[in-house]
Structures are given as structure tokens and as C-alpha cells.
């Protein structure tokens, strides 16, 4: 204990600035990149690798690339030949759809976007009506526009459909058809009726156990054998059936997860209110269960979207098929990388968009505590 009796006036010293190395850009760099020797080495190695990888790619894709022209003779600079993509863009988007009729495709997709936008706008009136029109009315309009045959529209047979348009059609049909089928299968799997449960389990496990490609082979080789003489199915329709059945099994498992997460009190409460099975499911259980599994559903939809590329193996020309065909065209040999990069970019934009949207939804609907 100090025995000093001298009175000392306490003078508050002005605050010192924080150490230069702890705040601002330098502080950030130090904590995030150079916090230890090992980290510093990692950072330097990563920067070096990026230096090796990024500039040549940028140079190839943008700086040394050719953008204008019509034939391969216009690609002289040694970089990417985007002329090839631009020259074949129509085929990549519409496949072999007759050029004069392409307005029909544009109109159908324009209508789709116009109907979709209100669903993303908060407080838009009559959202439910727009949604149900999108689900039940729109497909008919779209089919009439794509296929034609009435209202003076010439018929465009499905083997002329192709490119991005076909990819979108297959995934949209797959998505719309596999969700209700998946919900039914999930309900069947959790049913108390042994026969219904057994069939649902068998169906789900069968489709989940085999690769999509064998399902597509089956639908293209075996389906014609299953049907009576004279009845033939369109190749596209066969692929659609295969994809829908396959994805509905995955959807069923996702939905089952949601159903299992609903506490049994909810089921009991619905029964106590006197609701029958379908009413308790549609009013009480499913709205909660589906909300819970939105991320899982979107993941399944993304998988479905990527899986649509497999239709090229049974001879349909989706966007990847169109790119493949263009790459093998003798007048454009040697531009495979550009073609694949273009197709990859299209798929990436759609899939990444969907996954970001689902993350946003998850955050919006989340009721958990976040650290």
C-alpha cells in the first residue's frame, strides 16, 4: 500500500488513436490475410495462383476475343471466338424452331415473365389468382403457342423444338408435375395403410436407386413396348414422363422430411377440429411442412434443371445438344471451349439465381436465433 499523502489532481488524458495495425485497411489485412506465418504463406500462395490463372482467362475471354463478324475467318486474334456463339445464337435458343414462327416462343416466355413478376412484388393484389392462372391456364396457352395447330398457327412438331427453349420447357413441366406427385408420394409413405405405404416406399426407392440416364433409356426404349399396338408417344413426352417420375421420388423424400418435422400436436389438433384427412393436410399440415422444406425443394428443382441436359443422350436437342451440334459443325471446328463456356454460363446463371433466391426465402422465413 502506498502511503503517499500528496494530493494529485487527476487529469484525463486525451484518448490515444487505436494502433494503426488494428483498424482500417491495414487492420483488416492483418486479421484476415496475415494473422500468422502460416496464413501469410497461404495468402501469398493463393495470390500467386490467382495471378497465374486469372489474367490469361480475362485476356482470352475479353481482351483478345473477337466479337464481330460472321464466319470463322473473322476470328484472328487468338482469343475467344465469340463470333461463333453470336452466329449460332438463334439455334442455341430456339433449336430448329422455324425462324418465322419464333415470335410465338418469345410471346410465350414474355407472358411467363409478365405473370411471374407480380408474384415477386409484395402486396400485389390477387396474387392467388395470378398464381393459379400461371399453374393451370398458362400451360395451355403456352402449349398452343409452341405447338400450334389451331387459331391458324402452323404446327411446329416437337422434334423441331430445341435449344434453351426446350431446356426451359422440360424443366418447367418437370417442376410443375413432380411437386404434386411428390407430395402425394410423401403422404403415401407416411400413411397408416400398409399397402399404400408399401407401394409408395417401393416407388420412391426404385426411382431414387437408379440413375436418370437408365430411366430415360427405359422411357425411350421400353415405353413403346408397354403401350398397345399403334399407340405411339412423342419422344419429348416420353422424356418428360421419365424425368417427372424420377424427380417426384426425390421431391417426395424432401416433403417427407417436412412432414416429419411437424409436431404430432398439429395432426391431433386438426383431427380435434373435425377436419378430414385431405382438409387437415391441405389446411394445417402441408402449408407448414412445405414452408419448412423450401430450401430442399429448390435444391431438387436446381438438380432437375441440371438433369435436363441428359435428354441429349436420348437424342433431344436441348441447349447443350445445340452447342454440341454446333461444335461438331465442320465450318466451326475448334471452338469447343467457347461453346461449352456459353452453355455453362447459361446454366450457371439460372442455377445460381435459384439458389440465391432460396437462400433469401430461407432467411425471410427463418424464425431461429442467429448469432
Amino acid at each position: 500500500m502506498a502511503q503517499s499523502t500528496a494530493t494529485q489532481t487527476f487529469e484525463r488524458h486525451a484518448d490515444l488513436p487505436p494502433p494503426v495495425m488494428a483498424v482500417g485497411v491495414l487492420g483488416w489485412l492483418r486479421t484476415n490475410l496475415f494473422s500468422s506465418i502460416a496464413n501469410t504463406i497461404l495468402t501469398i500462395a493463393a495470390v500467386y495462383l490467382l495471378y497465374l490463372a486469372i489474367p490469361p482467362v480475362i485476356n482470352w475471354a475479353f481482351i483478345a476475343a473477337d466479337w464481330v463478324g460472321a464466319t470463322r475467318e473473322d476470328c484472328t486474334s487468338g482469343g475467344a471466338c465469340w463470333v461463333f456463339i453470336l452466329a449460332r445464337l438463334n439455334q442455341f435458343i430456339y433449336g430448329f424452331y422455324p425462324e418465322l414462327q419464333q415470335w410465338r416462343v418469345n410471346l410465350a416466355f414474355g407472358l411467363l415473365i409478365a405473370l411471374f413478376v407480380p408474384l415477386f412484388v409484395r402486396n400485389f393484389p390477387n396474387k392467388a389468382w395470378v398464381g393459379s392462372f400461371l399453374l393451370f391456364g398458362y400451360p395451355i396457352i403456352a402449349f398452343v403457342l409452341f405447338y400450334g395447330g389451331i387459331l391458324g398457327l402452323p404446327v411446329v412438331s416437337t422434334d423441331q423444338w430445341g435449344g434453351l427453349m426446350l431446356t426451359l420447357i422440360i424443366s418447367a413441366v418437370g417442376m410443375v408435375a413432380s411437386l404434386p406427385l411428390g407430395v402425394l408420394l410423401a403422404l403415401g409413405r407416411r400413411s397408416e395403410m400398409p399397402i399404400v405405404r408399401a407401394f409408395s416406399v417401393a416407388f420412391i426407392e426404385l426411382w431414387r436407386g437408379v440413375p436418370l440416364i437408365t430411366v430415360l433409356f427405359m422411357s425411350s426404349v421400353m415405353l413403346p413396348l408397354f403401350l398397345p399396338e399403334g399407340v405411339t408417344f412423342d419422344k419429348l413426352l416420353r422424356a418428360l414422363i421419365g424425368i417427372t417420375l424420377f424427380e417426384s421420388a426425390y421431391m417426395a423424400e424432401v416433403v417427407r422430411g417436412g412432414l416429419q418435422a411437424i409436431p404430432s400436436g398439429q395432426y391431433e389438433a386438426a383431427k380435434a377440429l373435425g377436419l378430414n384427412f385431405w382438409k387437415s393436410m391441405s389446411l394445417i399440415i402441408l402449408p407448414q411442412a412445405l414452408k419448412l422444406v423450401i430450401p430442399g425443394i429448390v435444391n431438387t428443382l436446381i438438380a432437375l434443371f441440371k438433369d435436363t441436359t441428359l435428354v441429349i443422350i436420348i437424342g433431344l436437342f436441348d441447349i447443350l445438344g445445340a452447342v454440341e451440334a454446333a461444335i461438331k459443325d465442320p465450318s466451326w471446328l475448334g471452338y469447343a471451349v467457347e461453346g461449352y463456356v456459353f452453355a455453362a454460363l447459361i446454366f450457371w446463371i439460372f442455377c445460381y439465381g435459384m439458389s440465391r433466391y432460396s437462400q433469401g426465402l430461407e432467411r425471410k422465413l427463418s424464425t431461429e436465433h442467429n448469432r
Binding site: 495468402t43 440416364i213 437408365t214 413403346p224 441436359t309 447443350l320 469447343a336 446454366f347 450457371w348
Partner: protein, 398 residues
Amino acid sequence: MSNETKSAAAHTPSRTAIWNNPTFRSLVFQAIVLISVAAFFVYIVNNTLTNMAQRGISTGFGFLDLQAGFGILMSLIEYDETHTYGRTFFVGLLNTLLVSFLGILCATLLGFIIGIARLSRNWLIARIAAAYIEIFRNIPLLLQILFWYFAVLSALPSPRQSLSLLDLFFLNVRGLYLPAPQPEAAFTAVGVAFVLGIITSFLIARWAHKRQDLTGQQFPVLLTGLGLIIGLPVLVFAVTGFPLTWEMPALQGFNFRGGLSVIPELVALLLALSIYTAAFIAEIVRAGILAVSHGQTEASFALGLRPTLTLRLVVIPQALRVIIPPLTSQYLNLTKNSSLATAVGYPDLVAVWAGTTLNQTGQAVEIILMTMAVYLIISLLISTFMNWYNKKTALVER
């Protein structure tokens, strides 16, 4: 019909009509389902038999004994044109299993590295890992396979200008060439030593665990185990006079001879499968590690466990419980996705069996059913394992 049900209702003592009785309703509903499914199958089988009879396709598995008459690019068992269709099935099956096994190995390794990098405190490393995941997860696998095969591997130089690493590994448009190990007879002793090492270290681990439970004394299991598994075979290898030589690939004429050659189809498929699946595995690993709450680590520190022990005894076992089930389903996905091999012509089960053999014999029903059965059996085996593991590691609650 309605009279009958009415009279039945009149006889029952309870006042509810029989069509409102839940048991009766569920019985009727199930009967309807059963009959309609059965009718559906009868219809299909009937149609199929008629159609096949009309097209002159014979049913049955007799074709398995016929001579196949086509060559296969790569085979793990002895095979040429004179072998039977039955043998092409096994060639394809083994090729599928080979690519799945190698793919699972590579994808797991890459996936764990990237998953951990994604959680790194180093901002740049975490960003690169995130970019990797977002890029490769969102591009269809088929596109990636085609890209590696047609855009990258086809653009490689000819054998004369091969890319080489230390003059041991060569990569060119014809494939990848590696030195091939040539074990002599005495090499089996090394293998025996390896197996012995695994068995003894397993036994030692059990003994040490029991002793620790009884007395609290610890035993350096990891070091002894490593010594037994690695040291013992190396010792035997040295004692027997290094009975292993390497056959080097060498350029002869227009191509490489000797060594182990890997066809470009396999390289492309393996690259695409590993890179694609690794992106998913990385996310699983990340989620698994994040799922162990920080309180667990803190509690373990409070108990006085050192960081390495905390990781080994507290964090990893709990993270694995979250990681293993989705990881097995990724393995399953990889195995099923290996069927995309048919797009680049790697002779897997789908390409050889459901492709070439189907086209030659026309036995669509038998061949597709056999193919699907193979994948179904693999996936049922894996999901049985997963259920067993889930049950074993499930949290035991009050």
C-alpha cells in the same frame, strides 16, 4: 351392392354407417389401390409380350451365352470379341465400380480440403473455396464431362509432345501414362505384413481402450498403429530385398509402350465427377463442422482437454454424425452419375450393356431391368449401411 352394405349397417350395433368406419374405408381404399396397380402391371406386361412377339424379339436370358463380337476399349478382366454377352456385363460393371471407387476417393479428398478451406480464417482462401463451390455446383455434370473430354483432353498434344512430370508421368491426347508397379513373388510377404499390421493395431487399440477404462492409463495407440501399419511392411520390403520394380512408360514409334495407361475417357470422367461431387461434399463438411456449437468446444476446454484432444474427442465425432449420412448419399449420387460415361464413350455398365449390347441384341426389357437392378442393389446396400450408421450414432436422449 348398396342394399348389401345397408343391411350390413343395420346389423352392426354402433350407429355409424359402415362407409364411415375408418377401418372399412382404409380396407376399401387399399383394395382399390392394389387392384388398380395390379391391373396396370398386367396391362403393361400383356402389351409388352404382344409387342415383342410381333417384333420377333425372344424373351429370356439365353442371349447371355451368345458371342458378343464387339471389342471394349478398356477391361479389367480378360475380354475380347469372342467372349459372351454375359461377360460384357461384368466388364461394364467392373468399369463402373472402378470409376466410382476412384471418384469417391478423389472427391472426398478434394471436398474435405475445400470444405475446411471454406471455413478458413484467411479471407482469400475462404473466398476461393466459396467461388469453387458456387461455380462447379451450378453447372450440369454432363456439361463438365463433355468439357473435360472434348475441350481439354482432345486439345492435348500428340504423344511426341507429351506433357511430362519428372519423365515418369506423361499426359497426351491418347491418355495418361504412369509407371506400372511390377511386384515379384516375394512382394506378397509385404502385403501379408500390411494386413497383419492392421489386425494387430486394431487389437492393440481395443486393449488400450479397455485398459484406459479400467486404470485410466493411456497408451500411444496412434503411433504404435502407424508404426505397425507402415513400418512393418516397409521392414519386410527391405528384408526381402525390395521385390518391386517399376515399368516406365516409354515413347516407341507413335505411342507410349509399357507402364500403366489410363484412357482419356476415364480421365475426363474422373476429373468431372470428382470436381463436381467435391463441391457438394465441401458444403456438407462445412455444415457438419458448423453444426457443432461453439459451446461444445468451450465446455471441453473447461474440462481441461487440450485442443487436439478437443478436436478428436468432441468436435470430430459430433461433426461426423452430421456429415456421414449426406456424404454417403453423395457417394451414391457419384456412383449413379458415373453412368454419364456413355456420353464420352467410357465403357461403363450403361455404355457397354444398355448401349452396345442392347443395340446388338434388342433385348430391351431384360437389359434395362438388369442395369437398373445393379444400381438399385448398390444403392440399397449403401442405404442399409447408412441406416445402420444413423442408428448407431443417433443421439441417445432421455
